[in-house]
Amino acid sequence: MRDDERNAQPKEEKREHEALKFYYTPTDEARPEDSESNPHAKGTTRIPEVIDALVEEFGDVVWNVESYAGEDTVFVEKEKIREVCRFLRDRDELSFNYFADCGGIDRFTEDERYEMFYNILSLERNKRIRLKVRIDEDDLSVPSVSPVYRAANWNEREAYDMLGITFEGHPDLRRMYMPEDFEYFPLRKEFPLLGVPGSLPLPPQTPEGELTMDPFAAAHGSKPTKSKSYLEPKSDFTDDTDIE
């Protein structure tokens, strides 16, 4: 009963989505050397011939190739990601037909803040490719690859749920894990690890009580009130001042 007082927050007609404040960290260019001698490097991720084919077909759309631990990462322009995927899937000598995974990364830089990576396999040619696109904060939309690979459907929904990247042409862009009533994107770097109090109200803890706005009040810094929701039996050890 006293819990409710603690959890009760000023009631508003409509809770406004409050933008989270944060500061960018300064970054310096990272250039990890490609270690040829990585003990876990696999032959499947070395794909010079695929990169050549992509450059031949798309030219400047492929703007960078990185290599680490024997894995080639191909950076492409985000507007062309669907065409690149379709090319990889349909060209006979490539036949990247199995979509393994895709996901987003918050790089937390001032420009081109987000990144999407696509992990696609060619089961016939025993090859694995990683495509990457960079996304600026001002324009969070990326062409969806779900029309090309149906398996990308849920993975893209997850990226939307966690980072707020939107996918153009996605058949069903709903949140994956969080309920639709949730207004934040938890995998963004500025989202606090302990969550935002009041962002997901839970049912009242007593029949007449208020909604539980923050189940982890103590973790969010609110001081415990002196009174308890239950009455401790009096004994030599109970502190009398604790009981009202």
């Binding site: 490097a41 396999l121 398996a151 049912p203």
Partner: protein, 448 residues
């Protein structure tokens, strides 16, 4: 569109409805979804169940929306299936997951690489060891750490035991779903033996956390060798007795045959993985595709079935357990003597002897706990293993500190559930229980 059900004593009035927007969106999606049923029937070439005619009297012949879960004994966790029924046939299905979402990808960003290990136990909690190994291998690839040979063999034995243990649970629970409760007790007896082995090796029965970055925590004791050998011998017989019981069991076969069928093309298109993909005739196993540990040095076959129905997946998983025993026996025979962790204080924990009896050892232990492995800045790497459920991969990005900058988990149950949504459409509502059992999703992993 759907009104909230009114239960006596649970009426919060206007104050509270359980995440109203969320439910509305799910029902909207269910309405908007394309019904594959007709195309699917045409493609599979069988008449299937004819669409029922509209009848006012019989509720079973009407269209109806049914919510299964999230609390449902047959959903193997907190999976919610919202299905639109046409009579007894599922016309459209929408799965709602996230009821076990703990945000471990976010949590990992504030933990050192070693600290994150216990969280991986709780992803696919039916085979914790595979997840430990998957995580360790990904970190080792990111930081370029080589593990000693003996550690690789130990990891392989334990991974295969974890596979057997996971498949045992699948079989037991699957049998129980189909009505045979005694099967559950038999498979759990075998799981119990595997728990005893884990107890002897790792000191924990269930959430083992035994692998370490750069090796494993402790060497196998002579008694654990005995236990593993004894298990291999007894399990072969046990497996044979299960096959004798089930392979020609009329109820089991009729319950599984032609149920939840998925073709080769569909399985690839939907990104199914693990036994569900191989059950449809696709030859994809990470142990062959990109061999890790010592899988390229042992002799084993990868079972494939073409039918793509629940029965095919049953035969395939039983065969996989047999192959696992084969791998374990080879590992036991070929395991060399030697160290079990990399001998570098920046890459792995020092041994307890060093920690207790030398100053450097203690400092190294402290530093490794505090800072841990550091991968080069900007490095990123993906490493996948074949977990019992399929391809389990971690994609890691490093910012040069002892903590990962971003962890991306490619969870097999997640991808399999996506395919299951499609498999369920067109099947009978009574078969969903069997289908869920045969796809074998674990919500701890799918929900991250």
């Amino acid at each position: 569109m759907a009104t909230a059900p009114q239960f006596p004593g649970l009426d919060f009035g206007d104050k509270f409805r359980f995440w109203p927007k969320h439910n509305e969106k799910i029902y909207e999606r269910l309405e908007a979804k394309h019904a594959w049923i007709e195309e699917k029937r045409a493609a599979q070439g069988d008449g299937g169940v004819p669409a029922t005619e509209w009848s006012e009297e019989d509720p079973l012949e009407n269209e109806m929306i049914l919510n299964m879960g999230p609390q449902h004994p047959a959903t193997h966790g907190v999976l919610r299936c919202v299905v639109k029924l046409d009579g007894e046939t599922i016309e459209k299905a929408v799965l709602d997951i996230g009821y076990l979402h703990r945000g471990i990808e976010k949590l990992a960003e504030s933990k050192t690489y070693q600290e994150f290990m216990p969280y991986t136990d709780r992803m696919d909690y039916l085979s914790p060891y595979s997840n430990n190994v998957a995580w360790c291998l990904a970190v080792e690839k990111l930081a370029g750490i080589e593990i000693p040979e003996r550690a690789a063999w130990i990891r392989m034995i334990m991974c295969e035991l974890a596979r057997i243990s996971s498949h045992c649970l699948w079989l037991g629970v699957g049998l129980m779903d189909a009505g045979a409760v005694s099967g559950f007790l038999w498979t759990f007896q075998q799981r119990e033996d595997i728990y005893s082995i884990f107890d002897e090796v790792a000191g924990a029965r269930f959430t083992v956390s035994h692998a370490r970055i750069g090796g494993v925590a402790s060497d196998l004791t002579p008694r654990s060798f005995e236990l593993i050998r004894a298990f291999c011998d007894s399990f072969r017989e046990e497996l044979a007795s299960w096959q004798k019981f089930l392979n020609r069991n009329r109820i089991w076969i009729e319950r599984n045959k032609d149920v939840g069928r998925i073709t080769k093309e569909e399985a690839i298109e939907l990104g199914m993985t693990g036994p569900n993909l191989r059950g449809s005739g696709v030859e994809y196993d990470v142990r062959r595709f990109e061999p890790y540990l010592k899988y390229d040095e042992v002799d084993f076959t990868i079972p494939i079935r073409d039918e793509g129905d629940c029965l095919a997946r049953y035969f395939l998983r039983l065969e996989e357990m047999e192959q696992s025993i084969r791998i374990i026996e080879q590992c036991l025979d070929r395991m060399p003597e030697g160290p079990i962790r990399a001998d570098d204080a920046k890459q792995a924990y020092p041994s307890k002897d060093e920690v207790y009896y030398s100053m450097e050892g203690m400092i190294h232990d402290f530093m490794y706990t505090d800072v841990g492995t550091q991968a080069p800045k900007g490095a990123n790497a993906y490493h996948a293993v074949e977990s019992p459920k399929g391809e389990l991969g971690f994609y890691l990005t490093s910012d040069g500190t002892g903590r990962p900058f971003r962890v991306r988990i490619n969870a097999p149950s997640f991808t399999n559930l996506q395919g299951m949504e499609y498999i369920m459409e067109g099947s009978l509502v009574a078969d969903t229980v069997v289908i869920i059992g045969s796809i074998d999703p674990v919500m701890g992993e799918a929900d991250k």
